[in-house]
Every structure is written in C-alpha cells, then in structure tokens.
C-alpha cells in the first residue's frame, strides 16, 4: 500500500499545487492527505480506485485549509510572482499565458476543471464531490473554459444561466 501511495505522489502534488497555487502548501497538503489515507486505508476496497480516492482526500484537505483560513490560501500576486520565474523555462509563450490564466481562475472554476482534466472525474462525480447539481458543474466548467478561451484569443461564447443549487 505504501508503494502504491508513493507512486501516486507526483500526481497528487501536481493536483494540490494547481489547487493551492503554492508549492510548499501543496507539499503540506499531500503529506497530510497521505497520512489520512494511510489511517483510513481499510476503507479502500479496490486498489484500482486508489487514484480518485487519493485525489478526493487531497481536495478535501485543501478545502479544509481553505475553509480554516476563510480566504485564498495564497494571494494571487504571490502565486504569479512564483509563476513569473517559471516563464523562463517555458519555450511556448502561449502555454505560459494559459498556465497564468489557469492560476487566475477563481477557485470555484479552477477546482472542477482540475478534477475533470487532472483527476478524470465525470460531471456527476464532480457534482457529488462538490455537493452541487450536475447543471451547476456543467456551468462552472463551461465558464472556466470560456474565460480561458478569451485569454487565448478565441471568441468567448455567450454566457449561460444555470442553477447553482445542490442536487
């Protein structure tokens, strides 16, 4: 089990980093999440489901920290300062712009987008995890991409109205 968890660590760190927008915080979140996962390892019946299970724990750990602090865990300026240095390594300017834009997405849009693209979660799974209706998740995902479209020079689609109510 330790080996299985350890093999997932890079994925978990990447996910936590994009959520928290800070490397040190991401490391703390993953460390705490792995500790929680280890304590409740008996609840993981199918090892094939370990990845989404661990990603969910990481998301909840991030949410707990976020809730505790009642504010964005890392100020956007700090996150972007850190990203500015990253610009050097990026040979593709468009990709850098996109990374920057993803960093700037509010957490309510960034979180479902990360769950979908990095976590491979379906709309229904995201809805369950975030306690939202499927329609609300679809709207948030649509809006997240619509914001990124505009930044990437594509014409954004007209916004859609949708309920944010929980299922």
């Amino acid at each position: 089990m330790t080996q299985l968890f350890e093999s997932m660590r890079p994925d978990l760190l990447r996910f936590a980093h994009w959520l928290a927008r800070d490397r040190s915080l991401a490391e703390d979140i993953v460390q705490e999440s792995l500790l929680r996962a280890w304590r409740s390892r008996d609840t993981l019946k199918d090892q094939g489901a370990a990845r989404p299970w661990l990603l969910t724990i990481v998301r909840r750990e991030h949410a707990r920290l976020y809730e505790r602090k009642r504010l964005e865990l890392v100020s956007l300026d700090e996150a972007l300062d850190s990203q500015a240095a990253d610009k050097a390594a990026e040979t593709d300017g468009d990709l850098f712009t996109l990374r920057h834009a993803i960093m700037r997405l509010p957490i309510e849009y960034r979180e479902p987008l990360l769950l979908q693209t990095l976590g491979g979660f379906s709309t229904e799974e995201i809805a369950r995890e975030l306690a939202l209706s499927s329609t609300a998740v679809l709207t948030r995902l649509f809006r997240a991409r619509n914001k990124l479209r505009a930044i990437c020079g594509m014409t954004p689609a007209p916004d859609v109205a949708a309920s944010e109510a929980a299922p």
Binding site: L13, R23, S24, A89
Partner: protein, 223 residues
C-alpha cells in the same frame, strides 16, 4: 437542442457527446467550429497542467531573440555532443543533476544569506533538516527533480559557491565523482538517499559533501 445548450455541453466537456448534440452539430456550422476550437483549447489546458510550476530565474527570450537563441541552441547542442564525447559521463543521475543546475544559473550568483525559514521550507518537502547555520547558504529552493521535490541549496565556501542537492529518493551504491559541462562534483550515499555537491570553480566538494553527510537529518517518512 439549442446552440446555447450545445455550447454549454461542449464548453463543459469538449470530449463528451450525446446523440442530441451530434444531431445539432450536423446542422450547425458555428457550433461545430466552436467544438473544434474548444478541443484544441482543451488539449492545451491539459498540456499546461501537465507539469507543476518550477522556479528558474532566467528570462524567457522574446520573439526578437528567438533566431539568435535558436542559433545559440544549435551551437550549444554541438558543444554538448562534443563534451559528451570527450568526457563520456557514465552516470545518468550526475548528468541530470548537472542539467538541473544549468537550468538555474542565477543560483550561483546569489550572495544574500537566505533566512532560516526559507531554508526550512526548501527542506521540508523532502523530509530533511539541516544542522548547520544558515549564514553560508545563499540560495534555497525546493525543486522538482525525478518526480520528487528536492532541496537545492547554494553554500558559500572559502573557495567559491557550491551547489547541494539533497536527493532523498535517489539511492546510489557508492560515492561517485563526475566532471561535466564545466562542473565537477560528487554524489555520496546517505541514510535515505544521496547528496550531490557540485561546483563550477574551486570549492572543495569532497569536504562539503562529508559535512552534509553529517549535518543533514533525515526525518522519518510519514507514509
């Protein structure tokens, strides 16, 4: 299905589809184009998210400099091939350590002492502590290396700066020295991994490596 519904569906899940959506797309050119664009965007989002951000200090070359940068890259590549042939480094880990340090050239130039908290932050992710005082450390970052965060430090010595990478997850069977790309260094085994020390100048890497072997405290793995 209306265009608004189709675009909501496409924007939310560009790779997903339903019979209703496909039916709409057969009749609607602009929604088809919207889906194509969104799929391109989505592929780029996935690429953008692929690697976690890393800190490096040099600036990205502007468009004006790209041809020059390309020419320089070609020249560097030729020099690299020549160096590889001349020096024939046999150690992949050493080569990757050198490549990583080359990506952070500003690290050698740092002269300001790093405060103890920043050093602690750089070390924490790798589960290590350092017993030496911080007044000789002028650079401390937690860097992404071989799928793990590793502390990357620059220590000022009497004979110039030396870089230290604490490689908790990289086991080596014994001490290895290397000379590559104008750098010389040593990788020494440690209780829970290894420590790489390298220099571009005259710093005594052997002494520093021995000191690091003594001063690094490996905290218990919590998982």
């Amino acid at each position: 299905m209306s265009c608004e519904q189709a675009r909501l569906h496409i924007g939310a899940d560009p790779s997903g589809t339903t019979p209703e959506l496909e039916e709409h797309l057969q009749q609607c050119v602009s929604c088809r184009q919207f889906r194509e664009e969104t799929r391109v965007l989505d592929a780029n989002i996935r690429r953008a998210l692929e690697r976690p951000p890393q800190r490096v200090g040099t600036r990205r070359p502007t468009t004006t400099w790209r041809p020059l940068a390309l020419a320089a890259s070609v020249l560097l590549a030729m020099l690299a091939v020549l160096s590889v042939w001349l020096l024939r480094p046999s150690d992949t880990l050493a080569r990757e350590v050198v490549a990583h340090v080359q990506e952070e050239p500003e690290s050698w130039l740092a002269r300001q002492h790093v405060d103890a908290q920043s050093i602690d932050e750089a070390l924490r992710g790798a589960g290590v502590r350092l017993d030496i005082t911080s007044d000789r450390i002028t650079y401390a970052q937690s860097c992404w290396f071989r799928d793990h965060y590793v502390p990357h430090l620059v220590v000022q010595t009497a004979h110039g700066p030396a870089t230290v990478l604490i490689l908790r997850n990289q086991q080596v069977s014994g001490r290895r020295t290397f000379h590559e790309s104008g750098m010389s260094g040593v990788i020494v085994p440690a209780p829970q991994g290894s420590i790489a020390v390298l220099t571009q100048g005259g710093a005594n890497v052997e002494t520093l490596a021995a000191q690091m072997q003594q001063d690094v405290r490996w905290l218990p793995d919590t998982h």
